[in-house]
C-alpha cells in the first residue's frame, strides 16, 4: 500500500460523496416540485368551492372540464351545463363549503382529491347542512387544473 493508493482512495471517497450530495439535491427538488403541485391543486380546489359559494359561474366555467360529471350524495348527477344553469337560475345555491382532511394523490396529469366537507346548500328553496365525504378528480390541461368528476357520499 503506497501513498499514491491512499490519496486515490481519498479522491474516490470525495467523488462518491459529491455524487451522493447531487443525488440528494435532485431528490429534494423532485419532492419540492411534487409538493408545490399538491399545494397548487389544494388552492385551486378551495378557489373552486369559493366560486360555487360566490355563485361565480364565469369561474366555475373556467375551472371545470367540458366533460364534467358532478355527483351528489343522493345519486343526482349534474353535467357542466346542468351545474352552470342550476347556479344561474338559483335552483342550486351553495351557502358555505368548508373542507378538511384534504388528501391529494397526483398521478401524472390527473389527481384524486379526497376530503370531508361541511356544506350548507339551498336546493329548490330548501336549505340543508351536510357533512360529506367527497372524491374529486382533477386533470391538468396546460398549466391549469380542471375539475373533471366529483362524487359525494353522506
Amino acid at each position: 500500500m503506497g501513498n499514491g493508493n491512499y490519496s486515490e482512495d481519498k479522491l474516490l471517497v470525495k467523488h462518491k460523496m459529491k455524487f451522493t450530495i447531487v443525488i440528494l439535491l435532485l431528490f429534494t427538488s423532485l419532492i419540492a416540485v411534487a409538493q408545490t403541485d399538491e399545494i397548487k391543486l389544494t388552492v385551486t380546489l378551495k378557489e373552486f368551492h369559493k366560486a360555487l359559494v360566490d355563485n361565480n359561474t364565469v369561474s366555475v366555467n373556467q375551472q371545470t372540464d367540458k366533460a364534467l360529471s358532478y355527483g351528489h350524495s343522493n345519486g343526482w348527477i349534474e353535467t357542466k351545463a346542468d351545474m352552470i344553469k342550476n347556479l344561474e337560475t338559483g335552483y342550486m345555491n351553495y351557502n358555505s363549503i368548508k373542507e378538511d382532511s384534504i388528501q391529494v394523490t397526483i398521478n401524472g396529469a390527473m389527481a384524486n382529491v379526497r376530503f370531508v366537507a361541511d356544506i350548507n346548500a339551498t336546493l329548490d328553496g330548501n336549505t340543508n347542512s351536510f357533512r360529506l365525504k367527497v372524491l374529486e378528480v382533477w386533470v391538468k390541461k396546460g398549466k391549469r387544473w380542471l375539475l373533471f368528476a366529483r362524487q359525494a357520499v353522506k
Binding site: G71, N107, M110, N112, K133, V139, A149, V153, K154
Partner: protein
C-alpha cells in the same frame, strides 16, 4: 394542386379515424374491466384479479362513507362472506378527460345475503376512476353512493 389537396384531406380523415378507433378501443377495454371488477367484488372475490385491476395508489370509497387503500380494499373484498344475488350492472357510461384518464358511471343492483341469514337490497350509483398505465387501464378510485 387539387390532387395535393385531396391527399391532405385523405390523410386528415385517416388520422381522425385512427383517433376514433383508439378511443372506441379504450372505451371497450374500460367497460370490460368495469364488468370484471364488479363480478369479482360481488362474485368470485378473487384477490389476484383485484390486484391486476387496482392501480398502486388506488383508493376505495364505500357507500356508507368509509375509505380504504388498495391493500385494505383487496383484503376486505376477498374476506367478505356475503353472497350477492340478482346482481345487475346497467347504464354504463364512460367519460374521458384525456387519453389516459376516464371515469365510469353505472347503476348497480343486488341482494346481499349475509352469513346471519339477512338479505339487504343494494342500489348503488357507482363512480370509477380509470387511468392508463403501460397500456392497461387500472382502477385509481372508486366511490359508491346509495341511490335514494
Amino acid at each position: 394542386m387539387k390532387k395535393f389537396a385531396y391527399i391532405v384531406v385523405a390523410f386528415i380523415l385517416l388520422a381522425a379515424c385512427k383517433v376514433t378507433a383508439q378511443s372506441a378501443k379504450d372505451e371497450r377495454q374500460i367497460i370490460a374491466s368495469t364488468q370484471l371488477l364488479s363480478s369479482t367484488i360481488f362474485g368470485t372475490k378473487d384477490s389476484l384479479t383485484l390486484e391486476s385491476l387496482f392501480a398502486k395508489k388506488a383508493s376505495y370509497g364505500h357507500s356508507h362513507g368509509n375509505l380504504q387503500t388498495r391493500e385494505e380494499a383487496i383484503a376486505s373484498i376477498s374476506k367478505n362472506k356475503s353472497i350477492y344475488k340478482d346482481t345487475s350492472v346497467k347504464d354504463i357510461k364512460v367519460l374521458f378527460a384525456n387519453k389516459s384518464t376516464a371515469i365510469v358511471r353505472y347503476l348497480f343492483d343486488a341482494n346481499e345475503n349475509k352469513t346471519d341469514g339477512t338479505v339487504t337490497p343494494l342500489r348503488f350509483s357507482m363512480m370509477l376512476v380509470w387511468v392508463k398505465e403501460n397500456g392497461k387501464w387500472k382502477l385509481f378510485g372508486r366511490q359508491a353512493v346509495s341511490k335514494t
